[in-house]
Symmetry: C2
Subunit: 458 residues, 2 copies
Amino acid sequence: MGKNETIMATTIEALIDSKKYSTLRDIFVTMQPADIAILFESIDESKLPLLFRLLPKELAAETFVEMDSDEQELLIRGFSDAELKDVVDELYVDDAVDIVEEMPANVVKRILRQADPDMRKMINEILNYPEDSAGSIMTTEYVSLRPDMTTEDAVKRIRRTGVDKETIYTCYITDNNRKLLGYITLKSLILAEDNTKISEIMGTDIISVTTTDDQEEVANTLSKYDLSAVPVVDMENRLVGIVTMDDAMDVIEEETTEDMEKMAAITPTDKPYLKMSVFEIWKARIPWLMLLMISATFTGMIISSFESALAKWVALTSFIPMLMDTGGNSGSQASVTVIRALSIGELALSDIFKVVWKEFRVSILCAVALAVVNFFKIQLVDVMLLGNEGITVPVTLVVCITLALTVICAKFVGCTLPLAAKKLGFDPAVMASPFITTIVDAISLLIYFEAATMMLGL
Amino acid sequence: MGKNETIMATTIEALIDSKKYSTLRDIFVTMQPADIAILFESIDESKLPLLFRLLPKELAAETFVEMDSDEQELLIRGFSDAELKDVVDELYVDDAVDIVEEMPANVVKRILRQADPDMRKMINEILNYPEDSAGSIMTTEYVSLRPDMTTEDAVKRIRRTGVDKETIYTCYITDNNRKLLGYITLKSLILAEDNTKISEIMGTDIISVTTTDDQEEVANTLSKYDLSAVPVVDMENRLVGIVTMDDAMDVIEEETTEDMEKMAAITPTDKPYLKMSVFEIWKARIPWLMLLMISATFTGMIISSFESALAKWVALTSFIPMLMDTGGNSGSQASVTVIRALSIGELALSDIFKVVWKEFRVSILCAVALAVVNFFKIQLVDVMLLGNEGITVPVTLVVCITLALTVICAKFVGCTLPLAAKKLGFDPAVMASPFITTIVDAISLLIYFEAATMMLGL
């Protein structure tokens, strides 16, 4: 919440206290639903029902959709049946489904009781599709036309039925069995010559998704083909709904957040950060921290087995953090690049050899540059400036060779693990920094002690 | 590129070799421009001009827009002036600008020479806006109406001028000086009663952006208010263009990729991974690896100054990787959560105290859980199972206390640094895993040796 919202909230609370209801109403009608919802979040909960009742019907419903589920529940519990019906009647069916999905069972029952029978049927239908599927995010409120209509018939039909539809800008042409035959944009309808048959001007190069497709795929389809809506069909190619661009944007935002959370070793949740309890945040984070902490047993074992060597060449220990971090960073760079390219469709599994070959050459360049700079840095800073006499030239060489080999291995692990995860049907995003780092740590230590054994004669 | 594209490409090349041009044309007209562009990428470059000439005019232009700039340049260089004019005439002005921005100067000159004077003027105008500003991504092809028109006049005007407009679904109402007065959707125009004055039904709660606003802000505005287009005005509130949803989607994808790259210590570039040369990838990655490697000098110095202590308690060394990694992971979890919440507007700078207080409580829970599990893990696995006798109970306690304190510090650093970066006007995304890890490494080692000195009497 920004500063302005806080100032605004103070003003609003003062107006409530002095019972200036018509002033409040005047303020709200100038505002956007999304902004009213944000404002309501910073207002004392007990005043919410009063404020909400000041909004005109349509604005009230639009604001309701934008609110968090906690506040929605609070309001619904305070609504009379008539008030609940007013809000539900104004909702688009996909928004109604989103709300129903977040409510406890007794609230859901009340909502469904107040919805008109058509709406109730549509809500129940959509609720039956698996979570995150095209069916679960679609709306059933689209305009369907018949191929033998003329453009005038079509515009008349749109004028008659359009007001309740989520979009009228793309209409779908179906036969008597609801089979999808084509589509037409309102633009081509309006620009077409009078009395043209729809079948003559409709597009038949249909891009559609099926009810069970993953929501991320649906969003990518909309984005790839620059569509404003995509039709959803069942297994028999019957049109059952549409997904519009604004819902696809929400899906993309949600999926990107999930990807980033997985990449940082957090179990994704769909609650906003400030709404999550401390315990919920802990539950999303601790399993991965625990798993990664226990995996570090291996690095500990490697160091333990070289304890006597380390006791003899104590200087070697001081480079362990630098080697591990540079390895981890190199691997993360490769893995994040590959994960993102996979997720936006720039890479496919079949590109694996191209990727490995590219990363191999990049890793050689990085390895050489880092090793050379590191050699001079150690000699100039650690030996000459800081006077650390334990660091001999052979020790420096061991460090630089380990650094170079670690970077090469790290880039290899970093680019192959996300692709392997995808191949095995896991989410590549899990193979980001934390996991790569843990694996690369062990590799870098093994190389380090192997190199030290050979070159320093441990 | 997926497997299907490769198979398809082989078929296409075979058809070219056997000169089956009409078959090829038949195949292309069934395909989407985005898919043809993907297919063209895997076809031998020398065959591209031939294939491109097989496409009908409009499909050719739509496919051209979807292609990579390398291939666009190749095609333009092969075009006759007439061919170039055909493509340019079919382009929307914002797409033309995108293409012009990527081309070398001599190609730009040719394009501008072929564009008609109106188009040339619009391209030049948009090119003058700063990179990544609203002005640079807008299109000037929108429908503008006058307040005193009737709905019939408006529909007539749309039918007359709409074919070249990027969208006709939201039209903008301006006065004689191009000042923005309101907007109307085609939906309300179509659904309105006949002979209504536009001024009576237009929306006046205008959401607009100015030409110099950042493109990310523009995309967030479209997404927040679920708009299909947003008007762009100059400093005098004169309408100069619009940004449509499909362009906003591209901006969001681009900005998300940039965020992820920064979070993995990579300098963002706007080329797709497979199109970048090995040297370009190296240039984007090496500066950060170098910087972070050199910053590790501090951790090295800390270890060096405790060399004699480490020589005495060799077992302590084996826990360094685990402590550093767990600290790094804890810090990354907090930083990535905060960075993402800032970027999608869930958090503002003024929330800093809420965030710190929340992360503090989460860190206590994480610290206790990790320390307790780690205590038993060390005693059971490292001491009993692996028989490492150097690990006494006091050593175990030093490790567990360090672990707990490190996690608490890491979460604090992780949640405050992105907010501090934002406050100072930097991109919070830079304060992700790599930087947090480097800082937390030094903190964890300081705590470790301090704890060891106190408890083991080094």
